[in-house]
Amino acid sequence: MMTDLNKALIEYCLRIADNSLIHAQRISEWTGHGPILEEDIAMSNMALDLIGQSRGFYTYAAQLEGNGKTEDIYAFHRGEREFRNKLMVELPDNKDFGFTMMKLFLNGCFDYLMFRDLMKSTDETISGLAAKSIKEVTYHVRHSGEWVVRLGDGTAESHQRIQNSLNELWSFTNELFEQDSIDELLISNGIAFDKESVRNEWTKMVTEIFAKATLSIPENTTYFASGGLKGVHSEHFGFLLAEMQYLPRMYPDAVW
């Protein structure tokens, strides 16, 4: 019989893994289409890091769940309502480099704080995965943050474009800190961390970069997206999954 704690831990791993995978799926759309070769390489790198993170957390969830679950079953054989990623990472980039960098930066700052705190988790697998991931995310935050500054303080056009990206994505930042009874159970066991406790630090991190980038946080945001924790996604998400999952779905008996 699986304990409630184990059930919660599986769900927790899937949330992190889904977020990294869906983010990677979007970033990997850039491979071969970057604004300059060096950035093409950098984006592929970040996509690879995120896939690596998702595989680590899926594998741990599979181990806890048993029943022959694998990373690929989670990634390719679940539907729209079963994915737990945040809405921000599933948004299409439409080949807007600034939008991609802003997404990487906003989500990356949160992931940085998350992995930093999860390194102290009483669950050794979680703390181990966090210790590996934080090195990667540190670089993602630095790289995307530098681009946010360059674009914000670059030309008039780049300033306007990256400000527009910030305006649009700001609506998706509140969701980064949403938590529920699963978080609470795991926090009380020393396994998870309190998202609310890092909100101020996150705000400080992004505000410092926005000041350098001469960008301003939109003041009149009236709508904040929500839903990832419950598997309620944007309309874009079904298309992303249709593309990502089509081969294993079409040939369910095949091994690749």
């Binding site: 491979t31 071969g32 592929s44 690879l48 390719f76």
Partner: protein
Amino acid sequence: MDINVKSDDLSEMENAFNDSIQAGKVIEPKDWMPEKYRKQLLRMMSQHAHSEVVGMLPEGNWITRAPSLARKAILIAKVQDEAGHGLYIYSAAETLGMDRSEMIDQLLAGKAKYSSIFNYPTLTWADIGAIGWLVDGAAIVNQTVLAKCSYGPYSRAMLRICREENFHNKQGYQILAYLMRGTLEQKEMAQDAMNRWWWPSLMMFGPSDKESPNSADLLKWKVKLFTNDDLRQRFIDRTVEQAQAIGLKVPDDKLKWNEETRHYDFGEINWDEFFQVINGNGPCNKLRLKQRNDAHSNGQWVRDAAKAYAEKKKVN
């Protein structure tokens, strides 16, 4: 210039240059070199770099649809390697006196060539296997020889690139091997990819040397060490057995082991198709050029911003 030009027609410097190459000297960027040597190398190296970069497109086409997380990661890493190769060869080519941006402008304007194999479409997942195994396999045969060529920066670039290409080649072969031991549909997918990619892969070595306008000079200067036909034969000899090992049929009725020559005999290559594709009339020529141009123009504002920012920081 053809190989029969008498040596007394050549300047003294050229004679000395040719002699030093015959003696096995490696030419470095600061060494004197005949203008034609420089131009030929620049043409070859920039075409090679363009091929790496354009080659990212047909494979990148399957990244978002790779059928497992492991395959997705391997494919991204592979396509990323190709970007790295492009960067590396552009840098090596810059030692011959042309900026990367100028080379890229030539590509975008449709004035520079790249390997015509990338003007074929990747239609199924098996095509990713076929590219890794056949296209990178053919590239390895070429590049292993180029690693011993007379121009130092090119030869060193090839040494490094060949190591990664071997990994690409193995991952491609592994994709097809998995398909060939899978379901009936997977086997058909693999054979179909083999049928479509085999002949274009043989064309990658270029036309027979009798019809290859640059071969004589390049052989003399040890930029090329073997003829196109020699290299094509080498590729066929090593690849046919690999195909047989996993149950793939080579789509050539005339393919037959020849005991006398100790090589495979093979059928006639459709050179009309080759020249059609090379002259812009392949299935994806227009698409590839559009994709490169789109990426470049979509990124213009980013490059402008980076430049403007760097200049502001210099002033302050």
